[in-house]
Amino acid sequence: MQLLEIRDLAVSVEGNQILSGLNLTVGKGEVHVLMGPNGAGKSTLVNTVMGHPQYHVDGGSILFDGQDITNAPANERAKAGLFLSFQNPEEVPGISLENFMRTSRYAVTGKPVKLFAYKKELAQKMEELHMDEEYASRYLNVGFSGGEKKKSEILQMLMLNPKLAILDETDSGLDVDAVKIVSKGVEKFRNGENSLLIITHNTKILDFLPVDAVHILMGGRIQQTGDRTLIDRINESGFQGLEAV
């Protein structure tokens, strides 16, 4: 059973076409990696999948868990079980991380969040991510370092427990220890049912994960799909030469 199915997708931003004829499928319980040179449109693709209004779908469709979400607002996609860990998470002053995540969980599940159990779970997950508990009461991402912002994204992923988590360069800008902590968090997230789509340049985050497929995005579409060995090839000789395939 496919969880995410992108068919013949064409996307433009302010009139410039970025993607066209893009097909990509992620099955339940699978881990997929999306690679490609800078500017190939990887972030465009994942932002489109999440529903950023700035990205216009000119053609094709996006199916998620059997539903057509091509035109759904982002919050409906989140409710359906999609999650995007942002490359540059926004800072939102005036609302604490803790209150925000509670509101978010309520919005996603539609069920009241029991305060005590929630706080306990949050504290435990923050500890796993080596996040100081003080961050819970700080305004959402405001003044967080690059590393803390990425941890905050992974924390939100763990608290929302989506069906598909898309990680957009979550490992960029992190030191070696932080990459380890974040990848452990990602490992913990997996439960056999849920799936991951990971954009990465630094493939360390994949060290502890089984990889089911690797996709190369170039020229606005998926040029090649392969297994883990594709990563090694790219690490050795870059993206050049792949276009001809």
């Binding site: 209004p53 919050n75 939102v92 609302i95 925000f100 509101t103 978010s104 939100q156």
Partner: protein, 473 residues
């Protein structure tokens, strides 16, 4: 086309529910429209003024006739003074028990939550309806501390503290200041007088609530507060009115005297209806080591000109101003603060936020003056504006006049828009577009909300949510 765009709608005027319930006008007495010496004499006679007050009113009227409308700020040409009724006496006498206040008036204040707040969290309450104070009461233990909290008319006539009123009344804000304060001097009615004796700490706040019910009317309440040496008070002022299609005018006047080492916090939540011209004048003078703290929320009115002023007269005196202004469609709110550093080692801090949406126009206007003798002063000004769409407008007009070298002055201004990326970020976590916007706006206002009395902070967040419902593009 993304579904997000399809859902955007233009929102009609918001439902202001409790604020908009009008009572049938049931006045016992009202003067004619416009302003003449005859009307001023009538008001004075109706109030049983002492002679000095009658003469003061007539002198103010002359000044009013002489002065011209201000040549700056939002346009006032829709305000026709010949159509404003300056004095409307509700059909009741002043009461000290809610159950003696007539039902229609009492119900209005019940809906606004005033008696309930009084029971729970206030040391005393004054409630004004149109031109007169209909209810005034202060807790016995506060009275026993020697605190005087009464309506202004009783204070003027009182044999004991009448002389104190006469000594201070419109001395800090003289009628010569500008046209609307001259008008106030001529037709003032209602308001509160507070005296806190030296050394007395009033632990819970006093609150006056001003409600203007009659269409085409003016409200001109006078608030005079004297806080003695080393004393401490928190005073809260609330204002609202139902919406009418004719212009209403509010030209109140607030005079605050903060004694040596005393502290006064003056909090205001103004939610006048959007046909109101709110031309209010507030001023404080602070003695050595004293502190004035202003907390100001401006949500309502068609046009507001409001710049509370602090004169830091004594060495080491301080002022802090925290304000928020929210202008929607048809509103031009010109707000800010003024401070004069007249003594050495004085400190001022002005921190404001404004939000404009749906064609609303916010202007931040401030003035910081440091006099030559006021060395070693520190002043910091920060104003931030948020515009929610392309039709709205935000202006910042800060003025600084620094007359000596030994000062530390800082100014920071930021104007921004609500970011699409921030909305998307919140929506990607399951939050609807409307709620995401409300969350960003509430978050923007949060540092100010923290300063408000808790029930007002809740009310402010509700007002923001109401304003954001249906939302904008």
């Amino acid at each position: 086309m993304n579904a997000l765009h399809k859902r955007k709608t233009q929102v009609e005027d918001i439902d202001r529910t409790v604020y908009d319930i009008r009572d049938r006008v049931n006045a016992s007495y009202q003067v004619g429209q416009g302003l003449t010496a005859k009307i001023v004499n009538e008001i004075s006679a109706a109030k049983n003024d002492p002679e000095w007050m009658r003469l003061f009113r007539l002198k103010s009227l002359q000044i009013y006739n002489r002065l011209r409308l201000p040549g700056w700020g939002p346009p006032l040409d829709e305000l026709n003074m010949d159509e404003i009724v300056t004095y409307i006496r509700p059909n009741t006498q002043l009461k000290a028990k809610w159950n003696e206040v007539p039902d229609d008036i009492k119900n209005t204040f019940e809906r606004l939550g005033i008696p309930e707040a009084e029971r729970k969290s206030l040391a005393g309450v004054g409630a004004q309806y149109d031109s007169e104070v209909v209810y005034h009461n202060v807790r016995e233990e506060v009275r026993r501390q020697g605190v005087i909290y009464t309506d202004m008319e009783s204070a003027v006539r009182d044999p004991e503290y009448g002389p104190m009123v006469k000594k201070h009344f419109m001395k800090l804000v003289p009628p010569e200041d500008h046209k609307f304060v001259a008008l106030h001097g001529a037709v003032w009615s209602g308001g509160s007088f507070v005296y806190v004796p030296p050394g007395v700490n009033v632990e819970i706040p006093l609150q006056s609530y001003f409600r203007l019910n009659a269409p085409g009317a003016g409200q001109f309440e006078h608030t005079l507060i004297i806080v003695g040496e080393g004393a401490n008070l928190h005073f809260i002022e609330g204002c609202s009115a139902p919406k009418y299609n004719v212009a209403n005018l509010h030209a109140g006047c607030v005079e605050l005297y903060v004694g040596k080492n005393a502290r006064l916090r003056y909090s205001t939540i103004e939610n006048w209806s959007k046909n109101m011209f709110n031309l209010n004048t507030k001023r404080a003078v602070v003695e050595e080591g004293g502190t004035i703290e202003w907390v100001s929320g401006s949500f309502g009115s068609h046009i507001s000109n409001l710049y509370p002023m602090s004169i830091l007269k004594g060495e080491g005196s301080r002022m802090e101003f925290t304000g928020i202004t929210f202008a929607g469609r048809g509103q031009s709110l010109d707000t800010g603060a003024k401070v004069v550093h007249a003594a050495p080692h004085t400190y001022s801090s002005i921190n404001t936020k404004s939000i404009s949406k749906d064609g609303g126009w916010c202007t931040y206007r401030s003035s910081v003056s440091v006099l030559p003798q006021a060395y070693g002063c520190k002043s910091s000004v920060s104003c931030e504006s948020l515009m929610l769409d392309d039709r709205s407008r935000s202006d910042t007009i800060p003025v600084m006049d620094i007359r000596n070298d030994d000062v530390d002055v800082g100014h920071e201004a930021k104007i921004g828009r609500i970011s699409d990326d921030a909305i998307f970020y919140l929506m990607s976590r399951g939050i609807s577009e409307e709620d995401a916007k409300a969350m960003i706006v509430t978050g923007f206002a949060e540092p100010i909300a923290k300063e408000l009395p808790v029930e007002y902070a809740v009310e402010m967040n509700n007002l923001i949510k109401l304003e954001m419902e249906g939302s904008i593009g």
